[in-house]
Symmetry: D2
Subunit: 346 residues, 4 copies
Amino acid sequence: MKSFASDNYAGVLPEVMDALHAANVAHARSYGADAITARVSAQFREIFSAGAEVFFVFNGTGANVLSISSATQSYNAILCADTSHIYCDESSAPETFTGCRFFPIPANEHGKLTPEAINERLIRKGDVHYAQTAMISITQSTEYGTLYTADEISAIAQLAHAHGLYLHVDGSRFFNAAAALGCSLADISVNAGADILSLGGTKAGMMYGEAVVVFNKGLNKTIAYKHKQVMQLASKTRFIAAQFEAMLANELWRKTATHANNMAQLLYKSLSAHEGVHFTRPVQANALFAEIPRHWYEPLQEHFPFYIWKDNTHEVRLMCAWDTMESDIASFSAAINELSKTAVPA
Amino acid sequence: MKSFASDNYAGVLPEVMDALHAANVAHARSYGADAITARVSAQFREIFSAGAEVFFVFNGTGANVLSISSATQSYNAILCADTSHIYCDESSAPETFTGCRFFPIPANEHGKLTPEAINERLIRKGDVHYAQTAMISITQSTEYGTLYTADEISAIAQLAHAHGLYLHVDGSRFFNAAAALGCSLADISVNAGADILSLGGTKAGMMYGEAVVVFNKGLNKTIAYKHKQVMQLASKTRFIAAQFEAMLANELWRKTATHANNMAQLLYKSLSAHEGVHFTRPVQANALFAEIPRHWYEPLQEHFPFYIWKDNTHEVRLMCAWDTMESDIASFSAAINELSKTAVPA
Amino acid sequence: MKSFASDNYAGVLPEVMDALHAANVAHARSYGADAITARVSAQFREIFSAGAEVFFVFNGTGANVLSISSATQSYNAILCADTSHIYCDESSAPETFTGCRFFPIPANEHGKLTPEAINERLIRKGDVHYAQTAMISITQSTEYGTLYTADEISAIAQLAHAHGLYLHVDGSRFFNAAAALGCSLADISVNAGADILSLGGTKAGMMYGEAVVVFNKGLNKTIAYKHKQVMQLASKTRFIAAQFEAMLANELWRKTATHANNMAQLLYKSLSAHEGVHFTRPVQANALFAEIPRHWYEPLQEHFPFYIWKDNTHEVRLMCAWDTMESDIASFSAAINELSKTAVPA
Amino acid sequence: MKSFASDNYAGVLPEVMDALHAANVAHARSYGADAITARVSAQFREIFSAGAEVFFVFNGTGANVLSISSATQSYNAILCADTSHIYCDESSAPETFTGCRFFPIPANEHGKLTPEAINERLIRKGDVHYAQTAMISITQSTEYGTLYTADEISAIAQLAHAHGLYLHVDGSRFFNAAAALGCSLADISVNAGADILSLGGTKAGMMYGEAVVVFNKGLNKTIAYKHKQVMQLASKTRFIAAQFEAMLANELWRKTATHANNMAQLLYKSLSAHEGVHFTRPVQANALFAEIPRHWYEPLQEHFPFYIWKDNTHEVRLMCAWDTMESDIASFSAAINELSKTAVPA
């Protein structure tokens, strides 16, 4: 099966598999006290900032919950987009583990938060009856496959810091964002004022593993303890570190993420020609959102699984991955061609 | 480095690496909806029982917390050995996630719970002022490397069920236990009355991954939701499932666990000859506990890391793994030989 | 001071003080095992339904958290109005204690939820990535002093039950609602399909104390344990029970709540004459919402404290209590008369 | 009924009832912003220390949970006596709200913690796998009715502070302790090094209400928010404050607590004469512990309820209250006299 359902349907990059092999020698100290983890942590510091601390975790929800828990007491609140993964797709894990309230901020039509929208919720500071906001969380690239520019992130960071809040970036597709923007990883995180980053590896072509990268030293006091407590400390951490080492070496991530982004552009162009396809969001990274006729769902999904985003408007999501090929897109486009010729069922 | 510190210092079995490669083809549905996961789940049902449900998770703490959360409300209590991993080595993750109280039951000198010791805490049922016991958790093999026989587990299960409690088995070294006892995996879990099992993969030679195996259908109502909520649902689940498939194929686990257990016996024999070494627990699986002179710590650990268990009595833990070699044991024994000849420092 | 700030600024009804005296004789079993509690519980069953169970608690947040916790597992979600007390005024207590997600439903202009608005969020049932809705919570009378009719509650209850959800009524001003609607307490709770009710005593003229009344037997399994766990089980419960006994005797609550409601109507009439006062919500119980000139805030609040609801629109809340007097309203109206004559400051 | 079951079976002191009446005039700001609360808070500062902050709460469990939550993150642990109320009688409220682990320290035969016993658990600091101890909690007077001297508290406080830990005193019967020791309230709290105190009012003769008194300014940062979050912020706080004002005026508490303590001594003397009564703990405050023949339970409890502490040894608890009278003791003693004459049932 080749699918447009999610980049987590894809397998593992060959370079990452090689790195796993290379790491599989002899014994290594467990729980991150090994040499590979030390080496890759240093690499993170070079890439992001001299004071950055990295904590390797298993999955994206774990990365987000760890990030949030490092900055909060249980009476705090987090502001996030109403479309965000932490609000829509992580069950109530964030509440259960942190005890905090999550306030949804209406995302704009591109799935992004604006300082204006955030500002509406910066209320009742010091009021004990109201969960006290401690953090703003944004997603890069967003759940709609759109991008915050470095300046947009800066503006939100400045707003956050002016109100004594931390800025978290949920970057499960952060590599796609940096590749699309043609910037460094630091440009849209630490250099733009982010305090902590969930850096995704799995969707980018790793087998498993994400990284929480801490830029604000104020968040370093407790996070090592929470890392274990949130059930995200791997005993054989070396195998997560080794995968990231492969991703970072010669910016492999940029090559593979650029490929996925390019495939999304190609898919966009292929489908734009079709009358039945109406794109609903700008295509900026590796995701596409479009309304298609409902009777196309079944025949299309039989061969090319995808997500139905909003059933009432027939909006679907198509996602390209590191291994999406031009031929996949050609086949998909051909299938739509066929469907376009069939009559709408009565 | 070759160490006796922990079996989680060891790397990954070649058969498991091969399975990871084999699983890395094409796209697969995420979050456990893939074909490999379905196939391996069926394998679990064959091995354990027709009604068993399996949930693949990332690590041991995650497996235990998921197991416990499937059986509890926040006003409940869990009875566990005062030496158990969930009580001593998982931070307060169990409490934070479940809200429950954990009552430590004094383990006997072999690190095991007895029905008599458990019975002492089966008190105040129905008293709203007292956290209501819902579950008993035992470890197989125990933190002291000792084993519960199937009959011993049965006796605890009967006590549990007579009081309306669930029995959980923390089996991070369950393969070592079954190998040492020469029995099937079912014999010391579902057939002995256990309701839920944390089945360890990582320490047995996998890269990452454990399995929560549910035998009691009463625990199946909520566990799929908790699986996600507890941050243990892998997007690329197929790679955990594939590792277990390799472990279960032709009982690979029995071969490798038996090897580790045999190495522990060999180490026991080698060290028994030394006057300075006083074994403190029976050697039944792959762990050894012994008191050694404190001035041996440093020179020994330089080449062969191990855990200092109780500093006041100089009790140390030596752990054998799937890759421990006879030559490792010979080297270690030789090093002790040398140390035996040196005078005790003033 | 006499204020329009909140009905919890008022003191205690003389009949309630008398009941406290009458209850203060000899010893009584603690934690609700006393004779008064038994007697008043029977009274609740007569008033509501033969199967109703009552749990006396200290305050409104406690009542709501207990109600919610009786119906939920930690992966659940609760739907509530975006204007509701549990969403806006109880810190993150609901999340911290239950672990659940709270989804805000946009209230209509009268501060009420409609089946249509609720229906929008009845999504993703069975999806483990999404906190699973277990309960709908409405407020009667609402935070805007408006009322749900029995039929409106019925319609929401039917929607809830059709989706396997519980209906909770936050009734911190439930007496005011029943008095205004001229109905029984049962008419707008158990008879309308509510599963559990937070029945407010404090704002109605008690010193402290609320009651959680359980109608749905399915919620009775765990609530007694949660009652203690949520820190709301009073050792001298008899003194809460006795206060409720006074409130319920000869429907004292109806007399005093009707008075408060009548005072609200009188205040409405008095202020309606003023050009500067623009009422923003219908006045149906004991609360009034109106926009007034901002330069009136300070001189008015000096003598008659009130809440500023929305600073940007100059919307204020005026609340009448059991002890509001016609003369208080006359004085307030006179003060506004004076202010109307003064020029707007430049 | 007059009972020896618990001092929370007793009613309310007349002086406290008078204070409730006196507080019931006009309107007062809610949630502790009223004049009485301000006045009584000042009184607390005079009695304890100039920097003390007081937070009025509803009940003892609330006081303890608030105290603990003010000092902890969710990965922390609290050391407490295995016999303590927070460990044995507060369900799992402490865990559910704080997320922390509670480690039971074996109390000595007098129900007290010693620095030596505590020291055994001051282990694994900085180890992320182990819940990190943040606080020691002791009870004064203890669950066995015994007393810590000021020096004993000092020694524990010094140990705590030397290890960077806070010392909490659970003082649900703190007035009885100070009365029995003939010292000031400050002597055995702030002056002895305690960081935070749960000061009990209910068992001392109030209707409801306890106070959390914070001495260590480091604990003041978050406690106001947690006060609300833990569901312990009363809207009509003035009525709790007023009760404490009555208790503190002219040290009413000392008079009434001394009476209860004296009654305990009288009961001790009366019963010591009986062969069948074997006292098991020193009688130092208002509680007595004794082993009595099991067949006495029923006839005695018919008229004088008491708690069976340890059924296996027939140890019972007898508690004197502010309203215990010499005649109650005479009646009880006479009843035992009668029982002594009856034969043991076959």
